[in-house]
């Protein structure tokens, strides 16, 4: 039994080291960051403190430390993948954004291999990063639809309330935007069901309202009134303006503005 345990430990260390040896071309952060020395205990404690309100440098330092850690508890969690997503979302350079998202996918895949399959956050951040990575590449996006759906369904089953109904919100949008049956997994009924649940369960998140408004707007066959779309949009816009959403605020504002433009143009055409 001791020999077996030793074999397993050595195999795990070889696996973790080989990950470092074959490291991809990751986004390198400014060497002048002066990141503080991070212990495993520090990083574990930081998990609940770092998020969209954190400064970019702080997230970059934490990610740099996580790239080097061999602690299985950390590598099995969604922490590194989540940090990659936060950094990617605020990155304006497309190439760097996609690299960060790709790294986030890689961290989540490692977490799954190390036994993180029961952690909804691992599935959620894998999907969120994957979605961000393929967003600008139609063939990649379509080729990854099944995987995105599968990961998000697991996230919904395991952690539906994560990130203020994030799994419901993102899966709902996937069903809204994907090609419809029989060409793909797109399904307006599923989208509406998930997004109304997101709004009801977490009514204070602005994107829940924006995405629901978009689904209502897209659902022309259901005799949706323009006033209902406007109402949801207005609620979301107010929540965004009044809430403390940190670095997400600017990014989300653009999404609201884009939909407002589309909505406004359609309204003026109907007149």
């Amino acid at each position: 039994m001791n020999k077996l345990r030793l074999f397993f430990t050595i195999s795990l260390l070889v696996f973790l080291n080989s990950c470092a040896l074959f490291q991809k071309d990751y986004v390198q952060f400014d060497e002048t960051l002066n990141c503080p020395e991070q212990t495993t205990a520090n990083l574990l404690a930081a998990q609940n403190q770092l998020g969209y309100l954190s400064k970019t440098d702080t997230l970059a330092c934490a990610l740099t430390a996580l790239r080097k850690t061999e602690d299985v508890t950390l590598r099995r969690s969604a922490f590194a993948s989540r940090l990659c997503l936060h950094l990617a979302e605020r990155e304006t350079d497309q190439n760097k954004r996609e690299k960060l998202a790709d790294e986030g996918v890689g961290f989540a895949e490692t977490a799954l291999k190390l036994g993180g399959t029961g952690d909804g956050g691992v599935h959620y951040y894998l999907a969120a990063n994957l979605g961000l990575e393929v967003r600008e590449h139609i063939t990649l996006a379509i080729n990854n639809l099944a995987r995105l759906e599968d990961e998000l369904k697991q996230a919904v089953a395991l952690s539906p309330d994560l990130d203020d109904s994030g799994p419901l919100r993102v899966l709902g949008m996937l069903y809204l935007k994907a090609p419809a049956w029989p060409n793909g997994i797109g399904d307006r009924d599923k989208a509406l069901d998930l997004l109304v649940r997101a709004v009801n369960n977490h009514p204070k998140h602005p994107l829940n309202h924006l995405f629901y408004a978009q689904a209502l707007w897209d659902d022309e066959g259901n005799e949706v009134t323009v006033s209902r779309v406007k109402a949801e949009f207005a609620i979301g816009e107010k929540l965004l303006a009044e809430g403390n959403w940190g670095y997400n605020k600017e990014v989300w504002k653009k999404e609201f503005d884009e939909f407002a433009k589309e909505f406004g143009q359609s309204e003026s055409l109907d007149k």
Partner: protein, 158 residues
């Protein structure tokens, strides 16, 4: 498509609720699909922009029938319906619409160039990726004889 054994032919669907995405183009359905033999005004049409929603409504009994195109029909096996469905009408073979150009807003040269580009697309290394993605084997020039019966149905139809 109808719930099995509920209706046997199109005459029995007169006045009934008929759904489907293809109803977005009622003239095409009337003149080409039904070959001018049935007046669509005799049905209570419920066009939909999602076929899966129309099929769910059929399954629940909210619609009496749904018209599907061939691609949708072939995808039925992937859906889980609580009631079995059956087809009570199948049209004659209708050629794929293909890529068409408006002869009033394009020149002969433009149409020729575009056609040649399309014909080479699936053989091109980049173009092949898109073709494979959408299940397109190749783009081929149209044999006009294939469309002549359709053109006749359209011009003669009501």
């Amino acid at each position: 498509m109808v719930q099995k054994d509920k209706y046997q032919n199109l005459d029995q669907l007169k006045g009934k609720a008929v759904g489907g995405t293809v109803l977005e183009e009622p003239s095409f359905i009337s003149k080409i699909v039904l070959a001018g033999k049935y007046d669509l005004a005799g049905f209570n049409l419920k066009p939909s922009n999602q076929a899966i929603r129309a099929l769910r409504s059929l399954d629940k009994g909210e619609l009496d029938a749904v018209i599907l195109n061939e691609q949708q029909f072939n995808g039925l096996a992937s859906l889980q319906m609580s009631k079995p469905l059956e087809a009570i009408f199948t049209s004659e073979q209708i050629p794929l619409m293909g890529v068409v150009a408006n002869s009033k807003t394009t020149t002969t040269e433009e149409r020729l160039r575009f056609g040649q580009a399309l014909e080479g697309m699936c053989a091109d290394s980049e173009g092949k990726k898109l073709c494979d993605l959408f299940g397109v084997e190749a783009f081929a020039s149209v044999d006009t004889a294939v469309f002549e019966p359709m053109i006749k149905l359209w011009t003669d139809g009501k």
